[in-house]
Symmetry: D2
Subunit: 341 residues, 4 copies
Amino acid sequence: MLIVMASDASPDEIRHVCRIVRELGFEAHPIPGRTRVAIGITGNQGPIDPSRVAALPGVRELIPVTPPYKLASREMQPDDTVVRVGSLEIGGPQVIVIAGPCSVETQAQTLETAHAVRAAGADLLRGGAFKPRTSPYSFQGLGEEGLEILRDARERTGLPVVTEAVDSESFDRVEQAADVVQIGARNMQNYSLLRRAGRSAKPVLLKRSVSGTLMELLMAAEYILAAGNRNVILCERGIRAFSDYSRYTLDISIVPELKRITHLPVLVDPSHAAGRRELVAPLARAAVAAGADGIMVEVHPAPREALSDAAQALTPPEFATLMDELRAIVRALRPGIAVRA
Amino acid sequence: MLIVMASDASPDEIRHVCRIVRELGFEAHPIPGRTRVAIGITGNQGPIDPSRVAALPGVRELIPVTPPYKLASREMQPDDTVVRVGSLEIGGPQVIVIAGPCSVETQAQTLETAHAVRAAGADLLRGGAFKPRTSPYSFQGLGEEGLEILRDARERTGLPVVTEAVDSESFDRVEQAADVVQIGARNMQNYSLLRRAGRSAKPVLLKRSVSGTLMELLMAAEYILAAGNRNVILCERGIRAFSDYSRYTLDISIVPELKRITHLPVLVDPSHAAGRRELVAPLARAAVAAGADGIMVEVHPAPREALSDAAQALTPPEFATLMDELRAIVRALRPGIAVRA
Amino acid sequence: MLIVMASDASPDEIRHVCRIVRELGFEAHPIPGRTRVAIGITGNQGPIDPSRVAALPGVRELIPVTPPYKLASREMQPDDTVVRVGSLEIGGPQVIVIAGPCSVETQAQTLETAHAVRAAGADLLRGGAFKPRTSPYSFQGLGEEGLEILRDARERTGLPVVTEAVDSESFDRVEQAADVVQIGARNMQNYSLLRRAGRSAKPVLLKRSVSGTLMELLMAAEYILAAGNRNVILCERGIRAFSDYSRYTLDISIVPELKRITHLPVLVDPSHAAGRRELVAPLARAAVAAGADGIMVEVHPAPREALSDAAQALTPPEFATLMDELRAIVRALRPGIAVRA
Amino acid sequence: MLIVMASDASPDEIRHVCRIVRELGFEAHPIPGRTRVAIGITGNQGPIDPSRVAALPGVRELIPVTPPYKLASREMQPDDTVVRVGSLEIGGPQVIVIAGPCSVETQAQTLETAHAVRAAGADLLRGGAFKPRTSPYSFQGLGEEGLEILRDARERTGLPVVTEAVDSESFDRVEQAADVVQIGARNMQNYSLLRRAGRSAKPVLLKRSVSGTLMELLMAAEYILAAGNRNVILCERGIRAFSDYSRYTLDISIVPELKRITHLPVLVDPSHAAGRRELVAPLARAAVAAGADGIMVEVHPAPREALSDAAQALTPPEFATLMDELRAIVRALRPGIAVRA
């Protein structure tokens, strides 16, 4: 932490700030500058609460130096976290693909999709049973019945299942049914839900909120990690910017930056980012080329009949073509890695 | 709803879209254009799900005409909703002021603030007992003990209390203790919590999320209204843009637009928007001048010692000066309205 | 400037950075921290170019401490700059109002508007002769003929004239005709034009670009100031965010922040920010309440016939009502200041 | 164009709007809805100016149906534009790479870079002689001397040269020296410069501004195309969003969308988008995987000594590694295309 003093701060004010910093258990290092003094803070065993000094007389601003996340940081754990789901490794050398419908609608639709995505090479099945929807009048998911359909699909296809929990109540049920529990973008800062996820034995796929900074995403992961669950998978799915042609703006740059500063696996969901089928395959290819550990993509056997997000689902043949392209990129960029088929 | 067809859509595709629209129970009106055909949809008794037509062959885009919110709309209810809290009216002719600390820290701090803001003319006391914090290592609020302190402050000052519920568990307890239950910005799309709020007999203060569009804010209100609670108060608290000098960007324009299209009361929280004390009073004045029904502002007897958001709290004397300014603006713009003192 | 070293930076790397800093003529102050070392830089007579150190081995990031603008800074000039246009003072105790049509279309339209806004109390007349338009197929302004019409309107009404220059060629002509030369938002970082404005004897009204940070706005002003023209007026006109109801998002908070850190006058243009007539008056009131030195607003005698931006122009009666409201706010907040009528 | 009437618009208002539309030379098609009437406009030979109807009584909003760009549209020209620079084809089957320093600093630095990027397989040399800089106190480029250095580098390496023009004066000189003239992001809406570029016989590389929408980018291209120059190359270089880790946010999604709706070539500049060396290679790979026609990347023989943007330049060995990766992706995704080496 660096405290920048106002250019007209008095020597008394500077001494006062230093004294308070020391009272809080830290060391204060005044650095005289041309127009103002800055005060470096060191020796902090834990994070210092900025609000204890921000309002002292003469203080102009505070500049954090050490990142506030700890367990999520690669400085803390240099080696990649590899999340194991059965024999599957997420965050290891292979690029993994999660595919399936936005919502579980019927057993037939789910099974048909599951078989199709498995045939094309997907590693996990996705599908929403509890759906957070902007409108109270939209289809809200099949709930418990949806979980049953997913269980059945897993049994018949062997694909592990990823599905979303939207509150503590649904978490209990999803945790029973799913192999990976998803926390959706709208709940990235639902701290009760994050703490609940932290007490789970199941891996958690945490989606970045549409306005979440990199730091907020890692702090959300930190809630889960700090509560004891080390199997956290991050997922970029688009931010809210000013696009006049896509639903959200895929922040592709966060992929290499996350890989650099955290040991957690990083996935990309091009379907929700784009909101439009035409953009999904190019964005999925870009994600893998940028270094993502995998992608999560929506597939529906008959998109025009889907009950939610119809405009962004790929058909099974489109998905199979995408899988071929992804395999080609993986072969090009990660030679020697066996690719699933 | 207007369906815009691609410029190369075939007559068959156009006929197919019209047939599907009619099968869904609506009327379809093709409008031939110079380069393409658009299809107007009418007769809709409820909202049409866009995903049913967006993926039909030849469809280029969908343009909604009727807003998806119903109960929140001024077209549905032309007269202002006035939320009553004891003898206080929120959304009526008076401008109301909610003031108090970010967090309830101690009984002394809360009582001192409550007395100070009441003396300056505040109408309600705010203070967080359950605090959503970005970091799991930050102070998370006193919880039940904080609610006790707020109850006590209300008893001693007569000020009704606004405090936040962060999940269904805390909602039950907050609902007992508070006069108005706040749903914070991070939970604007926590639909479980919104539905719980909709079943409450207490008024709900719903804060806009930092990335919430006007439409999403009204749809969040719609969740509460549709579940039966008509006493919803909206609150703008800043959006996430690219500011290099303030924590968030206060979207002042949403105040007159909300007043125009919804009957619900509209407040502004300048403290969280700015994140810096120097900007709070100018933004509070701007909010009242723009037509807000009131403001919500953080006050702390000794900001430099606050456990959260210290940089943005006003001191009691600063708050008293602001109250004088707000009264002057109200007298100037709403002549004839008695102003509390 | 503070240089933050990587947590694994070697002692050699730290020494190397310090040596380079000293070779550049500055002093280097290493500050050892718990996980990393930071290096404070002092003694800088002018700004240090960050690119000289950012790429040194072991450097993690650079944090500027002293702002890069000099002449625009209130630290450099504590007293307000007051720009004089005839007997008018912009940036002094009075709130000034610039009003008129978006584009000069005809002599009759311009004169009618000029008389109307003068009658309602406006201080200056605005009107575009050279119009930057998004589409090459839109009306691009009357050019020289428009300047003639503005000259005539000034002669007949006595109102000084503000009009835009879009390139160096038009600057020469606008400079002859106008009392204040406007640099539009799209040209905020057109440095050739800024330098040309800096060589002018006429005051310059510099609009913030829709993506300009506060720092970039002040650096753009610095270009004009550094070239010798000290009569610079800043104008906020809305930023590009994600609004679903207004054309841009008025960043009202920048008004008090600019007043705090620069001595230059600060105006607000609510018309372009909102893009919709219904929002203009509330935003104008908010601007004055937040401390703006004045507003710039579009008025058209028959908005529905305007050749550009018709949706945002006030009618003369609407403008007269707004002027009454603004006078009431000024009287409330700046008692003792005579208000023009 | 669709005109949406207010729900309380009177039959007279609706008739009035229809009459005005017809007077403007278009046809009006009223579409009665459940709560309001919409009016479709057809028969438009050119674009209708929205401002002529937006302000009519009873009008709620206008919805454009036909895109306002014409010459840039793939509906107008279905086949890809291929820009020829000597024997090089930009927008054809090959992926092209433009590389070089941010600024031309010395002959030695430029030549060394040019030889290095040619050896690694670059197709064109980039380098700024006229530099738009945020601060008036930063290095502004070598100007004419820089152009001489570029001419020399072209002669010695055979690489065609891309360099920026910042105003009409520099355009004349750059046009003489360069093979491709760049219009930078800050000048995307500098319409005088765009018109000048439209009169040039040289290809123009047009960079998207940091707040430019897709529509605005295409309208800027339209200015050049409409003035007669059909050799326009578009370039995405990052938008301004809320990133806390990169300089701008690369909007990768615009690549496939531009390829879909315009026939113009589309490049990506990962260096300016990221602002940090570590992110450049992953973003370049993502751009090619998403379908870009090429990339533009900064390379410097000694980044730590660069006079501008040092933090984002690759070293020649880093660039060579990136070229290998790009070739591998091109081979994977565009089998059969010969790749330069």
